[in-house]
């Protein structure tokens, strides 16, 4: 071997240099291409935010005039929006929808997911099929009879109860996610707990739940955002009752009912989206973990 190395080394050194500089050139071009595309993508994703910010401080009548930059920065727009609209009410209603939904979903979905992941019983496959099919059904399929039931039988039309109560019985998507994650929890931990004398519920609470905290956090976050962003549900049930409007309904109304120009409309949008962005930056880790969970484990 030692005898052969000198010649190939010398020869490959020559080829290597040429190959290396070609590779360097290729890598440089690739770097430029990748980063140019990244800049273009960044412009695409950030652009609307930029216009949202910039338009929200424009003076009246400037928004659609073709000018891309405010002639002067009218910070009073935010005060104006707050005074005009029922923002406080909308925030309150949205929280009163999103928070109970999140808590109820987590509390009710974890046991179901646990049973589906860890227990072996005859109807397990059927139950999973029911969960999956419940995930697939658009809300518009079930809305009509539910709407009639809630408004006529229970007299809860105009309130958010019809949207909150069902989550006390488990949410199919959350169950599915939690179940997928639970499948990765090794059975030994559970068996160990059982050996120590824990009943099913104890096992669940003391042993399993702490192990699936990331999944629970992710599910909670997704459910919170689903409720926060929900438009169809509130439109159907509280569209008739402005006192119970959520932010989604209030914002859509804002442009029309208050006859405001787009600058105030953008200011209103900003006031709703800002807390979400802030929350995201604090909970970034949970978000990304949760998203990875949903996509990759599914």
């Amino acid at each position: 071997m030692a005898v052969l190395t000198p010649a190939p080394v010398l020869r490959s050194a020559g080829i290597d240099m040429a190959a290396r500089s070609a590779a360097r050139r290729r890598r440089a071009l690739e770097w430029i291409a990748v980063h140019s595309l990244a800049i273009v993508a960044a412009v695409f994703f950030a652009g609307p935010f930029f216009f949202l910010l910039v338009t929200s401080v424009m003076p009246d009548n400037q928004a659609l005039s073709g000018a891309l930059w405010p002639s002067h920065w009218q910070w009073s727009n935010f005060r104006d929006v707050w005074d005009r609209a029922g923002f406080l009410t909308w925030y309150k209603n949205t929280l009163m929808y999103a928070v109970p939904v999140t808590v109820l979903t987590v509390v009710s979905s974890v046991p179901v997911a646990y049973a589906l992941a860890k227990f072996k019983f005859r109807f397990r496959r059927l139950a999973m099929m029911l969960v999956v099919s419940a995930m697939m059904i658009p809300p518009q399929v079930t809305v009509m009879p539910m709407y009639i039931l809630w408004t006529k039988q229970f007299g809860l039309g105009g309130t958010l109860w019809p949207l909150v109560v069902p989550t006390a019985f488990g949410d199919a998507y959350s169950i599915f996610l939690l179940r997928q994650f639970l499948l990765t929890v090794p059975k030994e931990y559970i068996d160990a707990a059982k050996v120590d004398g824990c009943g099913e519920i104890r096992t669940l609470l003391r042993v399993v739940v702490p192990m699936i905290r990331p999944a629970i956090a992710a599910v909670a976050l997704f459910q919170f955002f689903y409720a926060w962003n929900d438009y169809f549900g509130p439109q159907v049930y509280v569209g008739a009752n402005p006192g119970n409007w959520t932010l989604a309904l209030g914002l859509e109304t804002f442009h029309a009912a208050h006859h405001v120009d787009w600058n105030l409309m953008m200011a209103a949008n900003l006031m709703v989206i800002a807390p979400i962005v802030v929350l995201f930056f604090f909970a970034q880790k949970v978000f990304v973990e949760g998203v990875t969970l949903t996509g990759v484990k599914g």
Partner: protein
């Protein structure tokens, strides 16, 4: 997957199980029932009941005020054969499912692959690309309708670049759905993050080996990358299709705002503006059932939407048992 020695026998063939296991099974079965009962109750009340009730109501005339009146197949005949909006809604939904979902997957994957190639600051880009996904649909729709308004920023910028006759975007029957697609691509962050995570799991050694064997980027993608991320892509396709079958908020809000017809949250007017190009079946259900109190026709539409959704998902999932399989 390796089957353990004590394999779960086929249903019904329990006789050959040892007694202790049978007892354990039954106990587990009862415990499972206990844990599942709230959800089973919820499923019956919030899914099974409405589906059955929708079938029931579809045979009645019911204005939600006076008692229902039996009309037999009249509502079915109306929706299926005498209601052009239904056909329009179907066509639009089909367009959205085929075009929008495909573009979402392709674009999402492209952006994810792009980020994997950025060594420094990749996280910053990932965060930036994810942010639009957090915007509530109503807000992102309002922002985009503003941006694409006839006098709005996009047209102003296009004007600077010499494009003086831009399409009418959300006011044009031809361009409404493409504009909605651009809006949906803006919110692609979630898909990007999912794809990004799964791309990281692609075995690097295989990629390197393929490169050494002389495979170009396309071949490498086809034979190494794609098989590795295939389950994730399929999952995204399925969720994309489910989401698109329910497509409602963006279409209805954009149509309403772009049409200039003054309306408040309770009464969207001119659903399907412009010229029916934004009409989707979920919007029709809302219009017929909630706005016009035509309960019967609305329930017919609900059932048809259900059938369509089930058909799509069965087609997509017929070969993938892993979704509900036991691991």
């Amino acid at each position: 997957m390796a089957t353990p020695v004590l394999a779960v026998p086929r249903r019904g063939k329990r006789a050959d199980l040892p007694a202790a296991l049978r007892v354990k099974r039954r106990r587990e079965g009862l415990a499972a029932l206990g844990f599942l009962s709230p959800w089973l109750l919820g499923f019956s009340v919030f899914f099974a009941y409405p589906l059955i009730a929708a079938v029931y109501f579809s045979f009645y005339y019911y204005d939600q005020f006076n008692p229902p009146v039996w009309v037999g197949l009249k509502n079915w005949d109306y929706i299926l054969f005498n209601f052009p909006d239904f056909v329009t809604g179907l066509k639009n939904t089909l367009w959205l499912v085929v075009v929008m979902v495909t573009l979402q997957i392709v674009f999402g994957l492209g952006v994810a692959m792009l980020i994997t190639k950025i060594k420094r600051g990749g996280n910053v880009f990932r965060t930036l690309f994810y942010l639009p996904y957090l915007a509530p649909p109503v807000i992102s729709t309002l922002v985009f309708v503003y941006l694409f308004d006839a006098g709005g920023p996009i047209n102003s910028i296009l004007n600077q670049f010499g494009v003086h006759n831009p399409p009418e975007w959300f006011n044009s029957p031809t361009w409404f759905k493409p504009s909605l697609t651009v809006l949906s691509l803006w919110g692609i962050g979630n898909t990007v993050v999912i794809f990004f995570a799964s791309l990281l799991d692609v075995p690097k050694e295989q990629l390197e080996a393929a490169a050494l064997d002389g495979a170009g980027p396309v071949k490498r993608f086809r034979y190494v990358t794609y098989p590795a991320i295939h389950p994730v892509v399929l999952f995204s396709v399925v969720t994309g299709v489910i989401y698109t079958m329910q497509y409602y908020t963006q279409a209805i809000v954009a149509g309403e705002v772009a049409s200039g017809h003054v309306a408040t949250a309770g009464t969207p007017l001119d659903i399907g503006y412009p010229l029916g190009s934004s009409l989707t079946v979920p919007q029709l259900i809302y219009q017929q059932g909630i706005l016009n109190a035509n309960t019967g026709p609305a329930c017919v539409l609900s059932i048809l939407l259900f059938v369509m959704t089930m058909a799509f998902t069965l087609i997509l999932l017929r070969r993938k048992n892993g979704l509900i399989g036991d691991d």
